[in-house]
Point group: C6
Chain length 192, copies 6
């Protein structure tokens, strides 16, 4: 299994890709968010069988980065000269909810800066337009899925810390948790 994990994450080792944690009807799962920039006029293309709330997360993430381009070190011209495509693989599975917000924002920041996301890092959390990270549900299932998949660090909202403390500690041995309040903290950890 570790070898299989390596296989997975090697392919994620490029700018524009980040690993999120989802809570589906079959339990917790990991989710790759893939972002690609092409020449364009600021269009946002979203694929991967995404529901409206998840699409709105992507739109919010993109606006946040555009409004805070100086702080995040992104050349602001890119927002009007590139088109952005965000894809979430496994098109047969419908996906929705706000909890991929910080993962989408991280994948976008990675694509716009050309900096890779730290390997073996996952994250889950809703974003707000003013740069906050909000708590989300299903933490136990998501954390166990991350552990099973060989991930080593997880970022989430500080208000979700209590949910992690309820998990038996043996199950999550060796996983490092980052509890954050703001998107800027997420980017500081993720784009090392």
């Amino acid at each position: 299994k570790p070898r299989y994990s390596n296989e997975i994450y090697k392919t994620a080792n490029m700018p524009g890709v980040a690993v999120g944690l989802a809570w589906t009807y079959v339990g917790g799962d990991i989710l790759f968010i893939e972002t690609s920039l092409s020449d364009g006029k600021g269009e946002l293309k979203l694929t991967g069988n995404l529901g409206n709330v998840m699409k709105e997360s992507a739109s919010t993430a993109l606006t946040y980065l555009q409004s805070n381009s100086k702080k995040t070190g992104i050349n602001s011209d890119l927002f009007s000269k590139k088109s952005v495509h965000i894809h979430v693989p496994e098109g047969a599975v419908p996906k929705d909810g706000p909890s991929a917000g910080i993962t989408m924002m991280t994948a976008l920041a990675s694509a716009f800066t050309g900096r890779k996301v730290k390997p073996y890092l996952a994250m889950t959390g809703e974003i707000t337009l003013r740069g906050q990270v909000l708590p989300v549900g299903g933490i136990k299932e998501k954390v166990l899925a991350a552990k099973r998949a060989g991930l080593k660090e997880i970022i989430m909202c500080w208000q979700n810390e209590k949910d992690v403390q309820e998990i038996e500690s043996g199950f999550i041995k060796g996983v490092k948790f980052h509890y954050v309040k703001t998107m800027q903290q997420v980017l500081d950890i993720a784009l090392a």
Copy 2:
């Protein structure tokens, strides 16, 4: 709890953010309206799982500010040179109704003028295109939610004063009420 409230409102302490009061199936709740301006051509982007009536409130608020830019001290060129994104956090919760109208208008005015909204202030009320504030329902539940969340001042329509008078006075001790007729009064109080 006060410390938790401080936490919340510290993050709201920036131009473009205003606090509204909503009446949901779980009772009264507070609602952050977040607004962000980017380079653009006057587009209005709305996210946060909003229903059509709430989206129309945002559109009405934006037109009001554009038509009354002189009175509100906004550079009128901004309306055609910026795109406006309004987001209401907690994307998993569907939101609708006209009662966020004056909060949206205030958040927009704050973003366009760069002036912060007064801290610990909440508001609820429908807006009209000619600048009136109309009464809304659920006042008791909204006011109690505001009190619980540590808010200290509330703006609403003068026709809602009778609803506040029906609340037992001990419950709302220390909360200051502003009863208004026009949007201009709202802005005079909110953008101090």
Copy 3:
């Protein structure tokens, strides 16, 4: 109550606002039509929880005024240099039907000419593209609502005169009726 009415109509005392009469599931009611012009390219924005037939009335009213700009004294350049926003307050209430047609046309003409609508005047009637006023239903309920709200003059189609004659005369004492055939007659009365 008169004082309350004064309150209402004082706020209506500006170009772009006209008072209509609606027939809803709770009986007759008065309806404010608010119009606002901004810099634009002839777009028509409609808000207030309006159904398709009511939206079509607005579109028809706008085309009539554009095609008859000379007759109505409107600078024809405005139709391509302004965007028009029509809002009908009380967003929580769905509204539909063709009977707000002449009120929409009047509010638009008032906004485009800068001339205020005569105070304490209400109206109800369908419009046609060639400038006719057509009869509508619910006259008794609408007229009584207008009377209750302190309105003093009402414009309607000449084919609705028979409906007014069926109302007991004591109920409508002091209300003046204008029976018209054409939109031009409506404007001659309303934009005094």
Copy 4:
């Protein structure tokens, strides 16, 4: 009643208006098709609670006139320099079906040429893009409605002649019928 009819048709006595015959759930009825041209870029605006088939008839009529502008004497520049609005009054009544096709084409041709449609003339028939007139249903009900409304001439497809012959002759005394094969014949009769 004749006087009432005169009233109706006097208002129709302007370029861009033609009278059609419809077959509704309450039997046959007459239908005014109103057309108005404004400065624009060839847009086609359709109002009056029209179904998709009826909207397609309008689009087909407009393309026919554009493709045959020489034959019909229309300045072909108008098609790209004007916007066309077609309205069918009585917005509360949903309308659909292809039988208003030749009436729409006639109203459009009248608006584009500035020539009035012959008074007291009605028509019913589907149009094709190559200029044919096709038969339609409900002839008896439509013809009787035309007679009741004081109309004096009716145009329809030659394949509908058999339907007229089945009507008792006393009912349609004084009505003149025109049986046609092509749109050009319709225009020759209507734009006298």
Copy 5:
């Protein structure tokens, strides 16, 4: 009946019109495809109560002709300088399915080249983007409808030949069949 047929086909005797065979709930029927070009920017307008699969056939036919303009002798500038309107008469009848594909392509090629389609010729078959003709269903009903309507030649896919051989030969006496593999063969026969 022959005289009636002559009547029908005389009106089809113009560039842009082709006769197809359809299989409806009332059995086989003939279907006119009418195409008209106007000044424009390459828009494709489709009317006649068409379903999505039939609309996609029209789009596929247009792309094929554009990609193969040299082979088919069409001036390639026309695709960006003209708007194309395809109409299928009898708007009251919903139509769908891929079997009108080759008829649409033929009508388009006829309109773009100005060459008339051979008289008394019908056809049925699905098209592909690479220029193949695919077999379709309902051959017996379609062929008998063509015979009844006085048509004399029918084009279809070579894989439908077996379906024709199952029809009693007396029923189709005097009808000539063309079995084809490619669109180019269809055009060679149809645009004689």
Copy 6:
């Protein structure tokens, strides 16, 4: 049957066409993906009765090729100067799912480079925006359909190898399998 197969594949022997494997309600089937480029502005037109997931696959494939134009040897100007039409024949059959992803990407690459796809080659697999090939379902049915249709080589994800090993070897004698991890490997095999 071999002769019939030859017939089929001869017509596929042109740039822009690739053969995929689908799993429908009647079992496994082969699927032609046809791509055609015309002068345009980067539009993507999709026909063939495709569901949303399949349309998203096409969009993802196009973005991948645009973002990796150097690696795949495509002139990057083409993406903004051409319009792309992807058609999947047999319009009467609804098609959906992500498994045509690599076939669509191959057909697109073939059209953009002008290089033909290797004959008698089929493929099935989901694509990701970062260039991975993901496993898909229905392998046994798809492989047997490919064998019946006379295909000689099949590309799929290395994680589907176990599904092939479960098929009785006599059934797939003479078929060569390629197990891949990346789109680049697919293109290296397919565009020989």
